[in-house]
Symmetry: C2
Subunit: 206 residues, 2 copies
């Protein structure tokens, strides 16, 4: 059935086209500038056509958030070359901050906006794989540090949430503009890395 195969391929292509337009629209104009009607306009279809390929706006935002996670994992590939787990942990934190600063729109979607989680709630039997992979990686690395007695012992979950919380907190305070009213412009980003630095230092076993 070559004909139905080609049709499916075409359907997949239009879906891809919608997604690509969405990526462009979202990464350039963020959540506020993002709308179903604008996507339709970009691909030169009527707004309702988009609904033949995606259940709703949240499904598109969920897909975009997954693209963000893949981008994030990509940016973490260079960690594999670092042997020392504590050093790797430090670098992982730096990468996290760097990713957030360089991809604020994706970061927003991955960790700040309600949309992707709302989609997960609506659709059954679906997990938050992106977040799960990230946290699992972090916990594995912390365990390694503890095993090699590089950092002080403690509950893995608490340590992981603490470290994640801190870098996430820094990035999201920055993205949501809670820093620029309190800290001199040119000192914000250096301070963020210094904070991470300080934390890695204090948790290091002497």
């Amino acid at each position: 059935m070559g004909i139905s195969e080609r049709k499916e391929k075409q359907k997949a292509e239009l879906k891809q086209l919608i997604l690509e337009a969405s990526v462009k629209l979202f990464s350039e104009h963020g959540y506020d500038g993002f709308s179903m009607r604008k996507i339709a306009e970009m691909i030169e279809y009527s707004p309702t056509t988009v609904y033949l390929y995606f259940k709703d706006k949240n499904e598109i935002l969920f897909d975009l958030h997954e693209i963000g996670f893949r981008k994030f994992e990509e940016s973490n590939r260079d960690l594999l070359t670092i042997k020392n787990p504590l050093l790797r942990l430090h670098k992982m934190g730096e990468n996290y901050i760097k990713f957030g600063l360089e991809n604020p729109e994706y970061y927003d979607l991955m960790f700040l906006l309600p949309a992707p989680m709302e989609f997960i709630d609506q659709v059954n039997n679906i997990e938050w794989n992106g977040g799960d992979r990230a946290l699992t990686a972090l916990k594995g690395l912390i365990q390694e540090c503890i095993d090699k007695k590089l950092i002080k012992e403690g509950d893995i979950n608490a340590i992981a949430m603490g470290i994640w919380g801190m870098v996430h907190g820094l990035v999201s305070l920055y993205i949501r503009r809670r820093c620029d009213k309190l800290i001199k412009e040119e000192e914000i980003i250096p301070t963020m890395y210094q904070s991470l630095n300080w934390m890695i230092n204090v948790l290091e076993v002497d």
Copy 2:
């Protein structure tokens, strides 16, 4: 001029009425359920009347965010009884988390939503006093801890941002539902306090 005085008082009263309706609407239904038209309906005026008392929606949200800060400062009054600065720092962190968990809508406005910062940008000669007071208090406390050699030395700004970042990160991951897909429901909140606990412990000088 008793007559114009009374008129001004009436104006102030309606402004207050709008604000009270806004508080109720926002704290019960959050940002998504909040609209100018709904406020108008609540106070039984036309939607455009609201614009005679507030420049736009962002001004109302800014005012609400300030109410949130006052509520937060209120909840921190019990800190004054604690003599030991490190203990006070710990308790301040706990209060921060507790406030976020108990007042997620206010927290959203104070630290997560763009609206209040957008208002500050639009209006000239206005500072983010709420955030400024909070960070100043935190930095003062950290300085006290360092002076009394209770915690390891380091750059005050970096330490303050690190601690704030961490508690903010934890609370905002919780509010934006990034925890419940990764951690067992009943373990989330205890883990948050454990994370704080762990951080206070590692930064303590031996």
